[in-house]
Amino acid sequence: MRSLLENRKAVVGLSILAVFALMAIVGPLLVGDSSEFVTVPLQPPSAHYWFGTTGQGQDVFGQTIAGARSTLALGFVVGFLVVAIGALVGTMAGYFGGWVDEVLSLLINLFLLMPGVVIAAYLPSGPLTIGLVLVVTGWAWSARVIRAQALSLRQRDFVSAAQVVGESHLRIILFEILPNMTSLLVSAFIGSAIYAIGAQVGLEFLGLGDVGAVTWGTNLYWASNDVALPSGSWWTFVPTGVSIALVGFALALINNALDEFGNPRLAPERAFLKATGRKRLEIHAPTPALRRTGAGADG
């Protein structure tokens, strides 16, 4: 953990994420009911309304802050469920193999085909529908990755040892297999959260969410449905879009840092170049694998 905090990418990512998490938790309390109509529609940013007003005369700043809560909450809950279901199905398929694997793999591959929007179309629109659709269409992606990892872990000696000792299958999966893929599970969770936030915003933008609620997706839905674009009101869609991008970027950075942490091959060559004083690597040079040798080591 300490060495993770020395990674610049991780620090930047975690800081951005912390700001938005704080915003999601206390923000709505500060800005009050942001769906209220406060003044003339489509006012440009001013000292009073920092981000201007929407096509319906709502405060864009308030809506950007207030939208964070439901968007991020749904994103992380869906991300968690996607990985939980994926881990359950994936480890079972990978560990048991044989016909269990055949059946579960077929199931995984079938769910990969599911077009989410079509399913959303048949259900009443709202956050519950969106969450359900995202879980139904998302779990198979993580299940596939986790299955591959479980498949390779199953052949390791410590699993055979546990089997010989007579541990139950459930115990082996819970205490031998899953703990050994923690980093994969964490990165799958972050990836799923990125997916869930993006897809959720997309579905809401299409009008399949609760258009009366204030979320980042509905903010953009109204920005495109009111006359924001033709009237030149960039402030109605820029703050929300930048917020979504920053959260996604922060999550990607954290994932990247975790990756470098676990796989030294991917660590940036910059540190290596700095250490050797070379301008750039020749293409046939082996990839430098950096190992920290003490406090303050670069890389």
Partner: protein, 324 residues
């Protein structure tokens, strides 16, 4: 051979499953979509005409299994029913037209993005630690973090409304009727520039990074060292030895991306009002045009399956190891 048989089994099962799902999903949903759909015709049609219409759309009072087999025989004949929103056009003809635009726009975008991204990946490894290698990954990651449709909105806002360089909506200028004339083709390309460019900008980073990381691993292989020992030129080693082998993951990704063109183009088409599959789907959803939704569900899933099949075949051709 066993591999091919297994894959064939999967494709048949999957095709059957998606056809079956397309049948059962609307019938399982709460609120009886059929009733909602026909409610709009109430008062306009006599009960007999309503009954005829219901059976024309496949919603009869016959037992479910009978309806199901009737539906299967319709599908086997390529008959997807009649669209409600575009009545009396058939679902097949409505989808066919939209499909053409989607395949053109998104196919173009996917091919461009994959090619540019792969080349950028090679270039960044060619000069490891050079400016491209340092600047491109973070910038492209940041760009990729923006919602797809948001960048589309922003580009439409700047280049469409602000500067007026590109048309705002639709696939071609209304003044022309579709024909193989120069002004029409020109207008089609003018309308495709913005939507295609946004897709390329958002997706190119993924291709580049995946090519880069695979290539780095391949370059560490012994046969690359051997090629150097033989004294081959770096360019030859890079393209003939390394890049060729590092291409495999991107080929898989390319096939997947092609398959998801139909569902993925939804948001872009929505922003640019581009008359493709995605735009059609949203209109069908808003007007509760269930036969059309069902047809789109089918074409979308079958497209993904088809793309997977294509990837499997290309893989066998590219990678001799799968042939044994």
């Amino acid at each position: 051979m066993k591999f091919i048989l297994r894959r064939a089994g999967f494709y048949l099962t999957a095709a059957w499953a998606s056809i079956t799902l397309a049948f059962f999903i609307p019938r399982m949903m709460p609120g009886d979509p059929a009733a909602m759909m026909f409610a709009r015709f109430h008062g306009k049609l006599s009960p007999e005409a309503m009954q005829a219409l219901r059976s024309a759309f496949g919603f009869t009072n016959a037992p479910l299994w009978k309806q199901y087999f009737q539906y299967l025989s319709h599908i086997a004949r390529g008959d997807l029913g009649i669209s409600i929103g575009y009545y009396p056009a058939t679902v097949g003809s409505v989808i066919g037209q939209a499909l053409l635009w989607t395949v053109f726009l998104s196919g173009l975008a996917v091919i461009l993005s994959c090619t540019i991204g792969t080349l950028l990946g090679i270039a960044s490894v060619w000069k490891r630690g050079g400016w491209l290698d340092n600047i491109a990954p973070p910038v492209l990651t940041l760009l990729g973090a923006f919602p797809y449709f948001w960048l589309a909105m922003a580009t439409l806002f700047v280049f469409g409304f602000g500067l007026g360089w590109f048309p705002l909506r639709h696939a071609y200028d209304d003044r022309f009727s579709p024909s193989l004339t120069w002004p029409f083709i020109r207008s089609v390309f003018e309308h495709a520039v913005l939507p295609a460019a946004t897709v390329v900008v958002v997706t190119v980073g993924g291709w580049m990074l995946s090519m880069r990381s695979t290539l780095i691993n391949v370059l560490a292989e012994d046969y690359i060292l051997f090629a150097h020992a033989k004294g081959l030129r770096p360019g030859r080693i890079m393209f003939q030895y390394a890049a060729r082998n590092a291409l495999l993951p991107n080929i898989t990704g390319f096939g997947m991306a092609l398959g998801f063109v139909l569902s993925g183009s939804l948001l872009t088409e929505m922003v640019f009002s581009y008359p493709g599959q995605g735009y059609l789907l949203i209109r069908a959803v808003k007007s509760l045009d269930y036969p059309l939704i069902q047809g789109l569900f089918l074409t979308t899933t079958l497209a993904v399956l088809g793309a997977n099949l294509l990837v499997d075949m290309v893989y066998v051709w590219l990678d001799p190891r799968t042939r044994s």
